[in-house]
Symmetry: C2
Subunit: 376 residues, 2 copies
DNA sequence: GGACGGCAGTGTTACGTATAACGTCCTCCG
DNA sequence: CGGAGGACGTTATACGTAACACTGCCGTCC
């Protein structure tokens, strides 16, 4: 009673952290018993009474296990690495959020490794040299040299796959996001149903009557973009009388603008729809359309991909494919946890959803337009 | 040369990590000597020849110190916590990027703690998950319970200050970002010159001729927003004949739209300029203006704050204040490192810059300096 | 000539945890 | 009645590192 301070029960003196031995002393047991009880492995080893005493003492002292000691003892750090192209990309920020949530639920931490060749859509930074050699960022250290030196596993986006090979993660469990299921490096793979999204998008455009479509394709070598390109091609091949062209576009608003400009002013009949590999490129494409004195969607329809916040910020709001980014990160982390536990991982491909908004409409009626605006 | 394996020098066998004792054995010295040499504290304790031998052996074996052991021994983890409202906010993603870079340069790691009340300005997030389950994370754990249990310091945004009090970080060095310099909790404070930015913005509008300005003020209790409001008020007080009103706005595109709608349709003369607390609100405001049949900037000027990628994605491009987000994170981390080293911290207030773009123009001509345009 | 101090190192310890190995009793059953 | 085992705990150890305390040794100075 005299020792009772005014501090709430959750707030111990906080001067020096209590150790498991302090708890043991307070509960009148040995340190080993504390470890057993708090580790929930005391079935027939400690009496219920003492177990409760231990828990009470731990609570009273505000005991938190020293993770450094635990890691040292166990040889595992309960820390995983998430390798993404860039965190300033909203999509990957959301992936991280989902992954971190699941990780935290299991007592794991997530450290980030933005790959050196990471593409920052926010600022126009040249990502790679023409030779394909990744431009080494000034000070992106090997995460295995940094504070996260000891890792239990890795989750990596296919967009950062190249950075992976430079990493010394050779023997770590590796979950790859949105990548080739046959990739030998991956212990497991978690995918979004990108192909379905691309098909839905293409189907939406053709149903509106579009026949001349230009695909503003991200010029990033990555499984996910290859899938988009293939799905778009196949879907349009199935519709007679279509003309698909492809215009490479770097990532970013400005790059999207330039690519769209090229697509709209190039030789041949002007496309009536621009199918963009992500919302950011699409935003740039919208700007390009209007700079040419045309309107979105009356003259040119534009579609995005990802359903970022941006899709609702621009006008008209973008028709796009919603990717469940948080769930994606969650699934990736769950898969990795399963691998770490030795459980079989059976992660399904996550469904995506077409979101129809104002940036798409039937193509304008025109003499040389192979399709009827109201057709369908 | 005969011992040269096919593996590159940087890639050791990678089977089991070499320990400092392995290095000692290989170099023919004791483990203590290895620790001294690699810790760079061997001035007169180890001969240069042996020191070089140790370094060579370490390189050969690909030795990486076990950080768990080091942390346990030293009582410091070389890990700091960054508390931000939400990572999906581009601004804070960039702050993190800067902080992480400096941290890595000094062998530190950064773990993230998105505060529970974190605002997700990204999506209409209110509810719309197909499954209908609450997206708001029910499981944001105390970071001191999570894998980052042991921390050396904390950097916290003023926008997440409330979360801080719930944290048990009582005795940790704390650097606060953009917050009241008199905040007693902070060991040090690093600020952006927000007031200057707000003044520049206000001056820009008044110079264009605007007199009726509504401030779409973020309804988040936070030092940084209080400063903006105060600076705007004072700047406009200095210009005779101005009418400043204030409309609270939640964060997010949709909230900005609603607030702007209220501001434009409310009683009294319609404002000719909307000064928004961030670019996202401004994007929503632009939508509201157009939905009322008005034009940006001819009928209503709109300004943002932050200079996110979004500012260039919407049309017209936003006049805004560019905040050096990466540098902000870098400065915060540097300040924390100084505190940890016991050095005096003397971080200047970082300058900001007005960026004039297409969303601002002189107010429409009218009876008394910008009255409402006739018929609408 | 012996005391002394700086160099060049090594042996040892402790950090806090998890767990294997080891004792007790006590009960139950043949 | 004796021994087998379960319930209940404790002791001891190892994880890899940093740092303290100690030991020779050699050159120097009084």
């Amino acid at each position: 009673m005299t020792s009772q301070k005014a501090t709430p029960p959750g707030h111990p003196p906080a001067t020096a952290r209590a150790t498991s031995r302090d708890v043991a002393r307070a509960a009148g047991v040995s340190q080993a018993a504390v470890s057993l009880v708090l580790g929930d492995k005391w079935r027939g080893r400690v009496s219920p009474g003492k177990a409760e005493a231990v828990r009470a003492a731990a609570r009273e002292l505000g005991y938190r296990p020293n993770l450094a000691a635990r890691s040292l003892r166990m040889g595992r750090t309960r820390t995983v690495l998430l390798v993404v192209p860039a965190l300033t990309t909203e999509f990957f920020a959301r992936v991280y959020t989902g992954a971190a949530r699941i990780a935290a639920d299991h007592g794991f931490g997530v450290v980030l490794y933005p790959s050196p060749e990471g593409i920052g859509p926010s600022h126009p930074s040249p990502a790679t040299t023409p030779g394909g050699r990744p431009l080494r960022a000034p000070s992106v250290p090997d995460p295995f040299d940094s504070a996260a030196a000891t890792l239990d596993g890795v989750i990596a986006s296919s967009m950062a796959a190249e950075a992976l090979t430079a990493l010394r993660a050779a023997d770590l469990p590796l979950v790859m996001l949105d990548s080739d299921p046959d990739d030998a490096r991956a212990t497991a793979t978690v995918n979004l149903d990108i192909a379905s999204g691309a098909r839905q998008l293409t189907g939406h455009l053709t149903a509106l009557g579009h026949r001349r479509i230009t695909h503003l394709a991200a010029d990033v070598r990555s499984w996910t973009f290859e899938v988009r390109a293939r799905a778009v091609t196949e879907a349009l091949d199935a519709v007679p009388g279509t003309l698909l062209r492809r215009q490479p576009a770097a990532l970013g608003v400005d790059a999207g603008l330039q690519a769209a400009h090229a697509a709209l002013t190039g030789p041949g009949p002007r496309p009536t729809a621009l199918l963009c590999d992500d919302d950011i490129i699409a935003a740039g494409a919208c700007k390009a359309v209007r700079r040419l004195g045309l309107r979105v969607p009356e003259d040119v329809s534009v579609t995005g991909f990802d359903d970022l916040a941006l899709a609702l910020a621009v006008e008209p709001e973008l028709t796009t494919v919603r990717l469940p980014a948080e769930e994606f990160g969650e699934a990736g982390m769950r898969a990795l946890l399963a691998v770490l536990d030795g459980r079989p991982t059976q992660e399904p491909t996550l469904p995506v959803e077409l979101v129809t908004r104002g940036s798409t409409a039937p193509p304008p009626a025109g003499p040389d337009n192979g399709a009827r605006p109201g057709g369908q």
